[in-house]
Symmetry: C2
Subunit: 435 residues, 2 copies
C-alpha cells in the first residue's frame, strides 16, 4: 500500500481518523526506515492533540506487535498472567508479586523495562543481584516459564521493535504524554509476551506519571479496552502514588525490602499492594474465586516462605546469586550512610516522592539519559511513614551513597518531609478497580 | 545558551509561550544542524495547535532573518517598496505592478519564489522569457536596483536559510497550514530583502491557500503586525480568488497577458488589481497621496508605455530577450492548441480555479514535486469571464500543450465552468484593506 504520509499527518491533525491499513502501513514504514523520524514526530504530536479512536488504537497496537516476533507460550499449560505498573517511586512490587503468584501455580511471564524516570526499573533492581542476567532469548524464556512457572527478563530486540523505536522518538520530541500512545506502547509490549491475562497497576499522584485521577482512569480504561479487543482478560487498579511506596528507593535497597516482604516482614503499604495485585492475578489465573480468597493465598505464600523460595529458584535459574535470599547482606552496599534528621517536630503529613526520587538520582540510583549506568548500591531508605510522630532532629531517612551527589541528595531529602501538628489525611492505597 | 529541546516542545505543546532567547536558540540550532528535523517537526506541529503570541512571532521572524545575510539597500536612495502575494491561480500581477511602480520612481526590490502549488511562480514566469536569469547575487541585485530602480530575482542561499530549511520540513510534515508559521516565513524573507515598506495581497477563496475570509484576515493582520514590530510600513489587501485571475494560466502565457496589460490591453480584473496594489505601493513610497491618485498614476504608466519600457529594461538587464515586449510571439509557444467548448448554453456563473490549475499542471505548467521542471509554453487561456453569455459548444478556453497530459487536462477544464440561467453573484475584487 503506497501512502502519502504528509496527507495522513494532515488528516490526523484535522481530527479525521486513519484507517487500520493506513496505520499498519505507517508502522511498517517506520520500522523499515522508509518513513523518516521527522514525519513520525509530527504525526505523534498530531495524535497528542487529536487523539485516536478505538479502531485506530487497536490497529496501532496490533501493528506494533506485528512489527516483530511475538512470544509464543501456547505450548505451556496454564493461564499465563502478567502485571504492568505505570511506574512509581519505590515500586518494587514486581519481585514479590511475580514470585508469590508463580509459587501458587499461575505462570507469570514477566518482561520488564529499565528506569525511564528518576529511579531504576525492575531490570535494574534484578541486576543488582550479583550475576543475575535479564538478557534471555525467547527460547530460554519459554524454557524458564515451563520449568519454574516464571521468568523475569528484559525486552528482546524481536519484541515490538516499532514500539521501541517510537518510544525513543517520543522521548526526545515532547510526545510522551499522550494516552493513546502510552496505552498502545504498553499493551503492544505486553500482548507480544504471549500472555493470556494482565493486571495493570496505574499509579496516580504527584510521584506518578499521571498526576490526576481522571487521566489515570482514562489510561486504565484505554488499556483495558485494547486488551479486550485482543481477546485478553485485563483488570486495572488505580493506586495511590502520593508518597514513595514502602521504605526503600534504590536498586539493591529495594531488592532487600522485597526479600523482607517475602519473609512476611515488609512495610505495610508494599505488602498491601502485593496482596491486592496478587489477588487480581490469581482471579484472572483462575486460582482464586474472589479478591478475599486471592489476598489470603498471597499472604500465605509470603508468610510460609514459598514466594521467597520461588524467587530464589528464579534468581538461580537466571544466573543470580541465590544466597542473597538467605543473606541480603550479599547484595551490593554503599560505602557511606548519612542519616537525614527531621527539620522540626510533629507528625509526618506528606513525603514528596519526587524529592526522594531526585535524591536517589543524585547518588546514582537512576538515569538522567539512557546511556547512564546505575549504581546498584545507592539510594534512600525512609525510616518513617505518613502519620508517624517525630521529634526535631530525629532520623527520618538514611541516604546510601558512594561519595557522589550526596550533598545535593541531602538537600532534596531535607525538604521531602512535610511535618505538621495536625493528623494527616490518609489516602486509600487502592483508589479504583477497573475491569 | 544551552536549551533542552524536548522541554521547550512540551511547553509550546501545553500552551506556554517560549522566550525570545529560546526561539533564537532553536532557530540557530536548527540552521546549524544541532537540532534535528524530528524535533523541529514536533515543534512545528505543536505551534500549529498552540499558536504563537506576538512576542514569539517577532522573535521567530527576527531569528530567521538573522540566520543568514540580509540585503542592505540602505545606500540606495528612495523608499523601497515590495509586494507579496499569498498566491493564486493566474496571478501574474507582480510583473506589470513592479514595472509600473518602478517606472514611477519608487524603487522595487522584488525577490520571488517558484510555484509551490499547481502552477508556476513568478520566477517560473520570468524564466519563460528566453535568456532571463533570476539567479543574481546580492551585489548584482543592489546594482540592478540602483541603475534601474527594480530587480526581479530569486531567493539567494544567503537570505533567511532557516526559513528555507523549515519550509521544506513543513511541506513534508503536514505543518504548512499554520498562520504564525506562514506569516513569519513570508515576513522573514521579505524583511531580509532590505525593504522599507510592503504591500501584501492576501488571497481568499477556493483558488487560494486561505479559503475563508476570517483566516485570511488573521494572516494579513499577523503579517502587518510583524512588519510594524520591525519598523516597516505594511498594508494588506484581502482580494478575491474564487476564479482565476485574468485569462492566462501558464508561464509564457501569463507573461504575454502581462505585456498586454502593460500596453493598456489587459483583462479587466488583472488591470484593476494592478491599479489597486500599485496605488498602495505608491502611497507607501510617498509618490501618491491617496488611493485615487495612486490608481491614476499606475493607469498612466500602463497606458503611456512607461511600465512596459521599464519591464523591457529589466528583462534586458537580467539577460532576457527584450524583443518579447515588442513581439510576444518570441515567447515559447506550445505545439498544440485545443479548444474547450461550453458543455451547455447560459451565463458563466463560476470558473473553478482549482480545476483550471489542475489542467495547467497536467500539461506541465506547474510542479507535482519540487524537482519537476516546468514547461514554459503550456497552460490554459480562458476565453470568457464570469457573467459572459455562451451558447452550447462555443469555445470557453484554449488548452496549450506539448502532447503530454492533454486528455486529463481537457477533463478538468470541461468541468471547470459552471453555467446557469441566472445572473451570477459577482464578488468584489478587493474584499478588505488592512493597515
Amino acid at each position: 500500500m503506497k501512502l502519502f504520509i504528509p496527507e495522513l499527518i494532515r488528516r490526523k491533525r484535522d481530527g479525521e481518523p486513519l484507517d487500520p491499513e493506513e496505520i499498519d502501513g505507517i508502522i511498517q514504514g517506520y520500522t523499515s526506515g522508509d518513513i523518516p523520524d521527522y514525519q513520525m514526530a509530527a504525526l505523534a504530536m498530531a495524535v497528542f492533540f487529536s487523539g485516536m479512536n478505538d479502531t485506530e488504537l487497536f490497529a496501532l497496537t496490533r501493528a506494533m506487535i506485528e512489527s516483530g516476533q511475538a512470544l509464543d507460550l501456547s505450548g505451556i499449560p496454564g493461564i499465563k498472567v502478567d502485571k504492568h505498573s505505570t511506574g512509581g517511586v519505590g515500586d518494587k512490587i514486581s519481585l514479590p508479586l511475580a514470585s508469590a503468584v508463580a509459587a501458587l501455580g499461575v505462570p507469570v511471564p514477566m518482561i520488564s523495562g529499565r528506569g525511564l524516570g528518576h529511579t531504576g526499573g525492575t531490570l535494574d533492581k534484578l541486576e543488582s543481584i550479583p550475576g543475575f542476567s535479564v538478557d534471555q532469548s525467547m527460547k530460554q524464556a519459554a524454557a524458564l516459564l515451563e520449568r519454574h512457572g516464571l521468568f523475569l527478563i528484559g525486552q528482546t530486540g524481536e519484541l515490538a521493535p516499532a514500539d521501541r523505536k517510537l518510544y525513543a522518538l517520543r522521548d526526545v520530541t515532547g510526545t510522551v504524554e499522550s494516552i493513546p500512545l502510552i496505552a498502545s506502547s504498553i499493551m503492544s509490549k505486553k500482548l507480544a509476551e504471549g500472555i493470556d491475562a494482565l493486571v495493570l497497576d496505574v499509579k496516580v499522584g504527584r510521584g506518578a506519571f499521571m498526576k490526576e485521577r481522571e487521566s489515570a482512569r482514562e489510561l486504565a480504561r484505554t488499556m483495558v479496552s485494547i486488551g479486550r479487543a485482543s481477546g485478553k482478560a485485563v483488570r486495572a487498579l488505580l493506586t495511590d502514588m502520593s508518597a514513595p511506596l514502602g521504605y526503600a528507593v534504590g536498586n539493591a535497597l529495594e531488592v532487600r525490602e522485597s526479600i523482607d516482604l517475602m519473609r512476611g516482614e515488609g512495610p505495610r503499604v508494599t505488602t498491601e499492594l502485593t496482596l491486592e495485585l496478587g489477588a487480581e492475578m490469581l482471579i484472572l489465573g483462575e486460582r482464586a474465586g474472589s479478591v478475599d480468597e486471592g489476598r489470603e493465598l498471597i499472604r500465605e505464600a509470603l508468610e510460609d516462605g514459598s514466594a521467597l523460595s520461588k524467587f530464589q529458584e528464579i534468581v538461580e535459574a537466571e544466573g543470580g546469586e541465590p544466597g542473597v535470599c538467605d543473606d541480603p547482606d550479599r547484595l551490593p552496599t554503599a560505602r557511606e550512610q548519612v542519616v537525614i534528621p527531621a527539620v522540626q517536630g510533629g507528625v509526618i503529613a506528606a513525603i514528596d516522592p519526587m524529592r526522594v526520587a531526585m535524591a536517589a538520582l543524585e547518588v546514582g540510583a537512576g538515569r538522567r539519559v539512557k546511556e547512564d549506568a546505575v549504581d546498584p548500591a545507592t539510594g534512600v531508605v525512609l525510616l518513617v511513614e505518613i502519620g508517624d510522630e517525630v521529634e526535631e532532629g530525629e532520623p527520618v531517612a538514611v541516604l546510601h551513597h558512594n561519595g557522589r551527589g550526596d550533598d545535593a541528595a541531602r538537600g532534596w531529602l531535607l525538604g521531602a518531609f512535610e511535618i505538621s501538628k495536625a493528623e494527616p489525611k490518609r489516602l486509600p492505597l487502592i483508589i479504583e478497580r477497573i475491569s
